[in-house]
C-alpha cells in the first residue's frame, strides 16, 4: 500500500495537516528514565548536617567581610565572594518570613496536600531557611509568627532531621 502525504501548513488550523492522519491515532512511544545520583554534601554542609544529626544544633557561618550570618552555612559568601571560616551557632527558634499552603497534589512533594512550608529566619541568622510547617492550623499561619524546630528521633544527617517548624508559645 502506498500512503500519499500532503504536508502543508494549514494556516487556519495552525497545524500541518496530512490527509491520511484524519483516521488514525497519533502515535507516541512510552519511556522512563530512572537515574540514581550520589550528591556530595561538601565540606561546610557536612559539618552542618553532623551537628543537626548528633546534637540537634543548627549552625550558620559568618562572612568576615560583610558580616552576613548564613543559614544554611556556605564556604564562600554569596554576596562578596569572601572565604568564610567563622562558625556561629544560631537558635532553633526563629521568625516566619513568608509561607504558602500547598493545596495541589503532586507525588514529588514530601507531604500530602494540604501542607504548609515557609522561609524561617532563625534567631541570630541574616538569611532564611526553607522548611515545612507542622503542628499548625493551616488557616492560622501568619507572617512574623514565632516558630521552633522540631527534630526527628531517627536522624540521618539531612535537612529532614528537622521534621518541621511549629508555632512557638512564648511565655
Amino acid at each position: 500500500m502506498t500512503i500519499y502525504i500532503k504536508n502543508e501548513i494549514d494556516l487556519k488550523r495552525g497545524y500541518k495537516t496530512m490527509d491520511w492522519k484524519e483516521d488514525v491515532k497519533e502515535m507516541v512511544y512510552q519511556g522512563r528514565i530512572k537515574v540514581p545520583y550520589t550528591w556530595s554534601v561538601g565540606e561546610v554542609g557536612s559539618r552542618f548536617f553532623i551537628e543537626l544529626r548528633d546534637k540537634k544544633k543548627i549552625w550558620g557561618d559568618k562572612c568576615p567581610r560583610c558580616g552576613t550570618v548564613f543559614v544554611p552555612p556556605r564556604k564562600v559568601c554569596s554576596k562578596c565572594y569572601s572565604n568564610i571560616g567563622e562558625w556561629v551557632e544560631v537558635g532553633t527558634k526563629g521568625t516566619l518570613l513568608t509561607f504558602t499552603v500547598v493545596r495541589y497534589k503532586n507525588n514529588l512533594q514530601s507531604r500530602d496536600a494540604p501542607f504548609a512550608y515557609g522561609i524561617i529566619k532563625l534567631d541570630g541568622a541574616d538569611t532564611g531557611l526553607l522548611h515545612l510547617l507542622g503542628e499548625v492550623d493551616l488557616e492560622q499561619i501568619n507572617i512574623g509568627m514565632r516558630v521552633e524546630a522540631v527534630f526527628g528521633e531517627d536522624r540521618k544527617g539531612e535537612i529532614l532531621d528537622i521534621k518541621y517548624f511549629r508555632p512557638l508559645k512564648e511565655a
Partner: protein
C-alpha cells in the same frame, strides 16, 4: 556596544497543551518555517543558529544535534543555550550577541518545548538544590506563592490585585490566535478557580504548553535590505542572584530591578512608564504581574496594586502589558521568553493584528528563571545611536 542589529523575522507555532501530532524536530520546523516566510528568507541565508529548551524536560539531550532537521542548522554553526525559564531570552541574547559581534550577518534564534512529553513538575524540581531545598520547597508554584505572601504582608496588596492582572492577561490572550489559553475570564472566574498554593489560584498560574518560537536577527545593512520595519535591538541585560532561596528579600525582585536599571541606563530611558509603548513580560503568575512592575521601575515600591487597579497596564491604558496574553496564557517553557521578544518585535513591526498596540516605538521584553534571575531586552522602531 556591538554593531547595530535588527529583528527581521518572527515565527511561532499555534501553542497547545499537547501536540502529539508532531515530534520535537517537526514543532521546531513549524516555527522556523514561519519566521523564514515572514522575513522572505531561505534557510541558505541564515549564517548561524542558536537553540534552547529546558534541561530534562523531554529527556533527550543535545538538541543542537538532533534537531538539525527542524532548525535547518545542517552544516551551520549551532550553539545550544539552556538557562531554565530564561532559556528563550538567553537564546535571544545569544543570537543578538552573535549578530552584534559582526561575525555573522543573519542569526536564527530558536526556543521550543514539548511539556506534554514529560512531567513538568518533576523536571522543574531538578533545578532545586537536592540536599537542602528539594524536599521542602521544590516546584514552580510554591516559591511564587510564598513570594507574593511576603509582598502582600508588606504593602497591603490583595489576592484580588493579582486576580485583576490574571483577568487582563487572559482577556488579552483571547485576541491572540497563537495563544494556548484563549478563553475570556471574569474576576469571579479567577476568584473561584481552585487554590493551588495560597495565595495563587489556577487561573493565576501559567499552563504547560507545547510550542516553539523563532526569531531572525540581521546586521544593520542586511536588516534594511530584508524589511522596512526591523525591530532594532537597543540593549539586553541579565542579572543573577540565587544561591539559596532563603537568602533573598522576596518583597522585591532584585534581579529584575538591577537588570532593568542597567538596560534603561544603556538605552537612555528615564521614565519607563511613559517612554515604553508596550511591555511583553515573563510573568509566570499573576502575582508577579503586580509585584514586578515595581522592580521594572514603572512605579514606586508598594504602588503596583494601584497601577493594576486603575487599568494603567490594560490594552487601553498608558502602558499596555502583555497584549499577547503573556505567560499565563502560553507557556512552552524553553520558548516562553523568546515569545516575549517575538511579540515585542511584532508590536514594533506593526504586525500584531488584533493584539496590536497603536504606534509602538519602544517595547520591553523580559525573561525570568527561577529562582531567580532576570533578562530584559529593549527594542525600538528607530535605529539606536
Amino acid at each position: 556596544m556591538g554593531n547595530r542589529v535588527g529583528i527581521v523575522g518572527v515565527g511561532q507555532t499555534h501553542h497547545r497543551s499537547k501536540r502529539s501530532d508532531v515530534n520535537g524536530q517537526e514543532i521546531i520546523n513549524e516555527a522556523v518555517s514561519r519566521a523564514l516566510a515572514g522575513a522572505e528568507l531561505t534557510i541558505e541565508e541564515i549564517d548561524a543558529v542558536v537553540i534552547g529548551n529546558m534541561d530534562h524536560f523531554e529527556g533527550i539531550n543535545y538538541v543542537d544535534m538532533w534537531s538539525v532537521d527542524g532548525s535547518g542548522g545542517y552544516m551551520k554553526p549551532i550553539m545550544k543555550v539552556t538557562t531554565g525559564g530564561t532559556t528563550g531570552s538567553t537564546v535571544a541574547a545569544a543570537g543578538y550577541y552573535q549578530a552584534a559581534s559582526g561575525l555573522f550577518d543573519t542569526v536564527l534564534a530558536i526556543g521550543w518545548e514539548k511539556n506534554s512529553e514529560s512531567d513538568t513538575s518533576a523536571a522543574i524540581a531538578t533545578c532545586a538544590n537536592p540536599i537542602l531545598e528539594r524536599e521542602t520547597f521544590a516546584g514552580a508554584i510554591g516559591p511564587l506563592a510564598a513570594e507574593y505572601s511576603m509582598y502582600m504582608k508588606k504593602y497591603g496588596a490583595t489576592e484580588d490585585d493579582a486576580h485583576l492582572a490574571a483577568v487582563r492577561d487572559h482577556n488579552n490572550g483571547a485576541n491572540n490566535p497563537y495563544a494556548h489559553l484563549r478563553k475570556r475570564v471574569t474576576l469571579d472566574d479567577v476568584r473561584n478557580s481552585p487554590m493551588l498554593a495560597y495565595p495563587i489560584r489556577l487561573l493565576d498560574m501559567c499552563p504547560r504548553s507545547d510550542g516553539a518560537c523563532a526569531v531572525i536577527y540581521a546586521s544593520e545593512n542586511k536588516a534594511r535590505k530584508i524589511t522596512d520595519t526591523p525591530a532594532w535591538v537597543v540593549t539586553t541585560t541579565t542579572r543573577h542572584d540565587y544561591t539559596h532561596f532563603g537568602d533573598a528579600d522576596w518583597t522585591i525582585m532584585q534581579t529584575l530591578e538591577e537588570a532593568s536599571k542597567a538596560a534603561y541606563k544603556k538605552a537612555g530611558i528615564k521614565d519607563p512608564l511613559h517612554e515604553f509603548d508596550v511591555m511583553e513580560l515573563y510573568l509566570p503568575a499573576s502575582s508577579c504581574a503586580v509585584k514586578w512592575m515595581e522592580s521594572l521601575g514603572v512605579c514606586e515600591r508598594g504602588e503596583a496594586p494601584e497601577l493594576i487597579r486603575e487599568g494603567v497596564t490594560d490594552m487601553d491604558g498608558e502602558l499596555p502589558v502583555n497584549p499577547s496574553g503573556g505567560v499565563i496564557c502560553t507557556n512552552p517553557i524553553g520558548a516562553t521568553a523568546l515569545i516575549r521578544v517575538a511579540e515585542a518585535a511584532l508590536q514594533i513591526m506593526g504586525k500584531a493584528d488584533k493584539r496590536q498596540v497603536p504606534d509602538v516605538e519602544k517595547a520591553l521584553a523580559t525573561g525570568f528563571g527561577g529562582c531567580s534571575w532576570s533578562d530584559v531586552m529593549v527594542l525600538s522602531s528607530s535605529k539606536p545611536r
